[in-house]
Symmetry: C2
Subunit: 318 residues, 2 copies
């Protein structure tokens, strides 16, 4: 029996629907909607798409999303100054600085700019103070993508308590916060990475397998235990048709070839979807899986930040 | 072949010897030694012993250890005020608040007092800011016990890269920072806890097994894979001779019985030492294993904090 597809689109819709009355109540009470400030420096085309998508989604949910641009030639001090201004702006509840920053700002620019964001407005959950609060299982702003994965698992009623969860990848963005969230849900958690020996022997034992490594179709059938739930966090471009044939099942391949012909590429996660569908019990498709949840959780974090900043007591539970 | 005993006493000695010239150089340069302020509230007898031991060890290493006492009837505000005073005192480089605080200070007193410590002086590594920096693999003050375990593994030249490390216990004090440090050493890391199902099946795969749960002799032979290195973080009192007979080998039992007769108890870790000696390749005894390393690392953290506060560039590497 092929795996059940976990529907990220439906999950994101439910998140938005649950947020709508809270956003309305906040706006009525405070005379303005929750506000997200997005900083975009330079003209990276992929960043333009991400940022536009984030602001559009936030706006569609009756929040305020505002773009703050910096020239590609802007200095690190310009970026830090803008962040300080947004920190001080009471109508801005959440601040997101789009990566990457222009190279001219220096090698450690991102860390310095992320560190400068007021932790109370750090809707990406990148600030070490928020990371520490997460580890200590205290109210915190937590990275959106792992938060979205947990939300999806909960909505799909996939039990985590006592289960063995294996995370492939140890990034600050996904792998490490994902491991912490799974631990807080009482899963036994293993973190694998590029130095892990005999990866398949570890991942085969996973009830929940999360792939977050950024390598197209890297996780194969041999890595997946029978009956596992596979969460595919990766979003990669594939333009080679021979490779696509390895990745996609017969009922999917024509559509993928059409995408390659038209746009030059098709999207695939870090998991080989053809093999995952054969082995797993549950699987998140790409696109249509985790991707949309990241933006939905960004909105949820913005509302949470807006409430926490005003000391609304149930904000942490939102 | 019985396990090799990993010698915590020798390791702690080497740590102190390596620190001595650095402490001397700091004192010459700044006209005063690195300073540790220890806050003790109330008269908990165990705390008195711990604190005396810490201050004595620090003093013996030519650092300054100073005790700051609060009455058992002191308020939370008294404790917070004292921490603020130590934060502002330039001759104090590290601040340690001994747990537990008196019950009268309230249920969340410890968290509030720990949070009040300047992260730059947080030699216990409990502040969320330091926890976040640790997760992000940035220079940080890190909890002393897991730091000591890593130091012991390094000194004993037990490889971690690519090895499977399993941590039993997920406390903020040991389990979680231990997992992060092992991950940074490129181990594949699994965190087990009270909700883990079929614990032995997970721990048997460990090349490195760290027990930090606080239950006397909980880890048995069946939990230990052949050739594993077992790090026993627990320190528990055993007063029952029948139980002692299960825990200690023949060549050890008379000494243990004598201790029970004399003091009313003998010390055992979270691992059954008799069975660990039969199964493991390397094993940390209790006492004489990890225990002494915690205080040695406290001293190392104090020197590190003293140097970091002055922006001495190689302080993070100390």
């Amino acid at each position: 029996m092929p795996a059940r597809r976990l529907d990220g689109v439906a999950c994101a819709t439910r998140i938005r629907e649950a947020l709508a009355p809270r956003i309305g109540a906040f706006t009525t009470r405070h005379g303005r909607p929750p506000g997200l400030g997005v900083v975009l420096a330079g003209q990276n085309p992929a960043s333009e798409v991400y940022v536009r998508n984030k602001i559009k989604t936030v706006g569609a949910a009756q929040c305020r999303g505002e773009l703050f641009r910096l020239d590609a030639s802007a200095s690190l001090d310009d970026a830090l100054g803008l962040v300080q201004r947004l920190n001080a702006d009471d109508t801005i509840d959440g601040i997101l600085v789009q990566s990457p920053l222009p190279e001219g700002m220096g090698a450690d620019a991102e860390q310095r700019v992320f560190d400068a964001i007021d932790p109370a407005k750090d809707v990406d959950g990148f600030h070490p103070y928020n990371v520490g609060l997460l580890v200590q299982k205290r109210p915190a702003l937590v990275a959106c993508t792992p938060l979205g994965c947990i939300e999806l698992l909960e909505q799909e009623q996939i039990p985590l308590r006592g289960k063995h969860a294996v995370v492939i990848g140890r990034s600050d963005l996904v792998g490490k916060p994902m491991a912490m969230l799974l631990l807080h849900e009482n899963a036994t958690v293993t973190i694998c990475h590029s130095r892990t020996k005999d990866l398949a022997s570890v991942t085969q034992n996973a009830d929940i397998l999360v792939a977050a490594i950024g390598r197209a179709g890297f996780v194969r059938g041999e890595h997946i235990g029978e009956g596992a739930t596979v969460i595919d966090v990766g979003i990669n471009n594939v333009s080679d048709k021979e490779f696509a044939r390895e990745l996609f099942a017969k009922d999917d391949i024509e559509k993928r070839f059409a995408a390659i012909d038209k746009r030059g590429f098709t999207l695939v996660g870090d998991v080989n979807p053809k093999e995952a569908m054969e082995r797993a019990a549950n699987f998140t498709p790409v696109p249509g899986g985790v991707g949309l949840l990241t933006v939905a959780m960004l909105m949820k974090n913005t509302v949470k930040a807006a409430k926490m900043r005003r000391g609304i007591s149930n904000a942490a539970a939102i």
